[in-house]
Symmetry: C2
Subunit: 258 residues, 2 copies
């Protein structure tokens, strides 16, 4: 046992890895870490050889995807990758349409509307257009929220098996910020209902004074690939929510394939 470990440590000839894969690892690691890291530490963290890590990071830096802080030589994402990101939101065929639709929705209804996707097992806010209510939602583009906390989360999971869902969501994601616990069975039922209804309404989950009205965006094969969603004050009349729902569903249909 101990011998194996030692042997593994000394003799281990590291599998040769493509630069391409290493780059993807670097970028992903850098995001997950959430702050700059020096090259040596990066190589350790990925247990990649220092030599090739240097060349790759230098290449990426030269290309502008990474930047190295001059004072403490930590690595960060660079300008260029930011601009590529903006290209996603402006040009990606789905994102572009969704963004325009969300802006229109917010303009017409006056309510905060959002475009969300499933990313890394969480609800992820990709675009938001704030409404003109005096009360403001404290959300920001890029935030990632546990699926059970959101209406969109229920739709994004629609059609998946119980097993898949349970595997995808870490247990702690069933506990709301204020400590309340969401029962898995209730959650699964809500997903089923959302799937059947073609939309989902949740009240006072993340924020106790807000309700969320979400609708699916279906891809070409009929799966929910994203959602649009309205963030509303909790005290609207039946009639008001009904009208908003119809308006939202119109957008949902406009964005879905055929």
């Amino acid at each position: 046992m101990i011998n194996d470990a030692l042997e593994a440590k000394t003799n281990a000839v590291q599998r040769r890895e493509r630069g391409v894969d290493r780059i993807l690892q670097i970028l992903e690691f850098l995001q997950r870490r959430g702050e700059g890291i020096r090259i040596g530490a990066l190589a350790n963290a990925l247990n990649a050889p220092r030599s090739s890590t240097y060349t790759l990071v230098n290449d990426l830096t030269e290309a502008g995807l990474l930047e190295i802080s001059q004072e403490d030589s930590r690595i960060f994402f660079g300008k260029r990758i930011y601009l590529y990101g903006l290209s996603y939101i402006h040009e990606n065929s789905l994102a572009k349409r969704a963004r325009m639709e969300v802006d229109r929705l917010a303009r017409e209804t006056g309510e905060t509307s959002e475009f969300c996707v499933l990313h890394n097992g969480r609800y992820t806010l990709m675009h938001m257009c704030v409404g003109n209510r005096p009360f403001r939602i404290s959300s920001a583009v890029g935030v990632q929220i546990p699926l059970p906390w959101t209406a969109s989360g229920r739709l994004l999971l629609a059609g998946r098996s119980r097993k898949e869902i349970v595997e995808l969501i870490p247990p702690e994601d069933f506990v709301l910020p204020d400590g309340r616990r969401i029962e898995i069975n209730d959650f699964l039922e809500a997903i089923e209902k959302a799937r059947h209804d073609g939309y989902c309404l949740t009240k006072g989950l993340v924020d106790t004074v807000a309700q969320c009205l979400a609708a699916p965006i279906y891809d070409a094969v009929g799966l929910v690939e994203a959602t649009i969603c309205l963030v509303l004050p909790i005290d609207l009349s039946e009639g008001q929510t009904g009208m908003l729902r119809d308006r939202l569903l119109a957008s949902s249909r406009a964005l879905s394939s055929r």
Copy 2:
């Protein structure tokens, strides 16, 4: 001549290229193009072999940096690269501080403020916080504007030789949207003045009813690596602009490396 060309075409054994470099080419090409492209066309455009282009694009797609439209199989930037981009603006050591400072500046002065860098020979708007004036500037994060059109452009070029500047800026960039032409010599003088003053004020260039007040952010070796800038209505009093300038310069100093 013709023979050479023919021979080059038939016999040319393409230099083997690293996947890493190819990826950088792909991303850059995709942004410059500004819309989706199919893999075959991409390989042509880069004159890269189809086979390796396929593997690379597939790798990037699997990683989430690219997405392939299901209906017409065109390639776009993917979600993941958007989130990486957001990491730049939130975590990159300069961008993070600049962003916070710009927000503070806008809050305190009530004026629209911006964080800009030099990218691909153009002024590039990286972050903006709109003020509370009734009149709104129609600018958006990511826009790239010819350097001569902006106050920030003058500062970003400060310290460079005439030769460098002329080479960097394409001739058409000296013509404003409304047809007015900026004389190179006036421009060079303005750069020199900006460098000397440590800030730059331009009136009515891109927009005839706006003036821009820009200040440099110096890097560790004393070069202007970015600027912050206020977008103001053109009819402010001397006293008002003076106060705003002082406030702006305080931010500029706070962001610069000693």
